[in-house]
Symmetry: C2
Amino acid sequence: MYTFPSPPPAVVPQTIFPRHPIFISTMALSCSRVSHQDQTDTTMPSPSPPFTTGLSVRLASRTGTLQTVTSGLAPTHLQANLIILPSRYASDFRLLCARNPVPCPLLAESSSPGSFSSLRSHLTSCSGVPVDVAADIDLRRDAPGYRVYRDGKLLSETEQRDIVAEWTDDHVGFLIGCSYSFESALSRAGLPPRHVVMNRNVAMYRTSVPLCPAGVFTGGTYVVSMRPYRSAEIERVRDVTRPFVQTHGEPIAWGWEGSKRLGIRDITRPEWGDVVLREDGKTVFREEEDGEYVPVFWGCGVTPQNAVMMAGLGGTVMGHAPGHMIVLDVREGGVFELE
Amino acid sequence: MYTFPSPPPAVVPQTIFPRHPIFISTMALSCSRVSHQDQTDTTMPSPSPPFTTGLSVRLASRTGTLQTVTSGLAPTHLQANLIILPSRYASDFRLLCARNPVPCPLLAESSSPGSFSSLRSHLTSCSGVPVDVAADIDLRRDAPGYRVYRDGKLLSETEQRDIVAEWTDDHVGFLIGCSYSFESALSRAGLPPRHVVMNRNVAMYRTSVPLCPAGVFTGGTYVVSMRPYRSAEIERVRDVTRPFVQTHGEPIAWGWEGSKRLGIRDITRPEWGDVVLREDGKTVFREEEDGEYVPVFWGCGVTPQNAVMMAGLGGTVMGHAPGHMIVLDVREGGVFELE
């Protein structure tokens, strides 16, 4: 059983945790929980009703009764990042995902331009049978919060409840996998990610690893999420996350050599999310290469959002508000070959 | 119409072309034509019979009447790199391809361990219908030449005619896409790759861009092929090669900035293949960033072979001899949305 040297405090005193500034320069954080600094976003969902299905989360979002982040809701159901583009960019974006499936795993998309309730799924069961992501879905209302960009500029820092007014017959929605699933699996395997234990946001970094370009989407690089583990745990961590093919799968790099290969300059300064801390409030990586933990890096759903923002697209681009994911009907066991 | 400043000589005098040493440290060159230094490999196929179908090439290889490289045979038919592994590595290799589809496009594989004539295709038509790669195929005999490695060591520099004796019930064969197809398309578009015009091998380079690891396959990096073009031609070159999704597709980087981002130290010293030359025998890139041409880089089929060799696998691993590809029934137009 995996344990930290001493159990983390149940309530984390704000004062002993020096917060690192969060640089939200992309359209939205991925499925990762948003920073504690954003009080609106971190309002935890009401404990009742207990959301046990993706549909219950979507309906509560659709009717406006759920306006919070979706972290922890409807366990074992896949949650998805949402990106909505003018149709003229759709084929290039689809190709971007196909060429970079680890950071940009495309789960489903509008079956045709303008379609917000009929989706074409790219998921299959372990035996290769196509799997629908959701039977009753409305991309305009089923995330608990949205962000809208016009000609590359965010219209408002406050998330919108829906995008019914902004959606046009020319829009195409894309659902991208997120790492909630494998975090649960790591916890079940006795390897809980440290930020989960500490109730913080996962640390995310820009890298120098180029994405394979696709049409208008050029110059992008991988964004990675990082979870610290002991060296002896890495092979087990790789094994546990490997089956989660459509939610980033196994790590793309680990250890200090891996960190250098990704071009990460300072592990204590993530571009998004929170610094990883010890129980005494100091960074896990204070001693760098002499410490007990080494960084382990996964492809991150911020990658395609970052690529979209870098492409400087014209027109109206939309996405879920940070942490306010669309929760699907499909469950982990239905699409991943789990142990 | 694309033209070089002056037409290349019909017969290239050996003396004016200073050959760069070729460092063949991987199991086999990809589908690219082999170097002129290897006289055995560069024996051009007899002009008769004219091979117009993949089956005719495979049957001639199977009966031993064709023992040469397959460059230019059965135009518009897909040609494939062949990698054969002990079954215990098959799922990791399949995952390596799935996570890195641009340099490692998996076309088909043995339908079960030991199967050399029944293949499971991963190709679909433009409308999504599964497409068989070949109706009558024998992975043990249908390449005009093979190489065999035992515990990571090449058994003989001389290629074998077949691997009937070495194939076991435990072997799994994989067919990986190659770039012959898009080279023809570039030529048809008036943008013939310079090495084709000069009748040389394409230049290939190791990069520092990490592959996404998969199981036993860790630490690999992209290998790229390079074709020089004028800056003004790059967008057209991207457009022409973009549809060839299963044969590396559009370039992954271009220009001198792109070259740096890939970690290429010296463009005049490719790790495999030939230096790109001007008509006077000097390198195209002699003047580096001041020259008329800039380098354009594509994912390369040497990548998975390199990853296999780096993994230090035990047992018997086999592949096609450099340039001696398996030619398939499927044609470009059947799987790519061409202009």
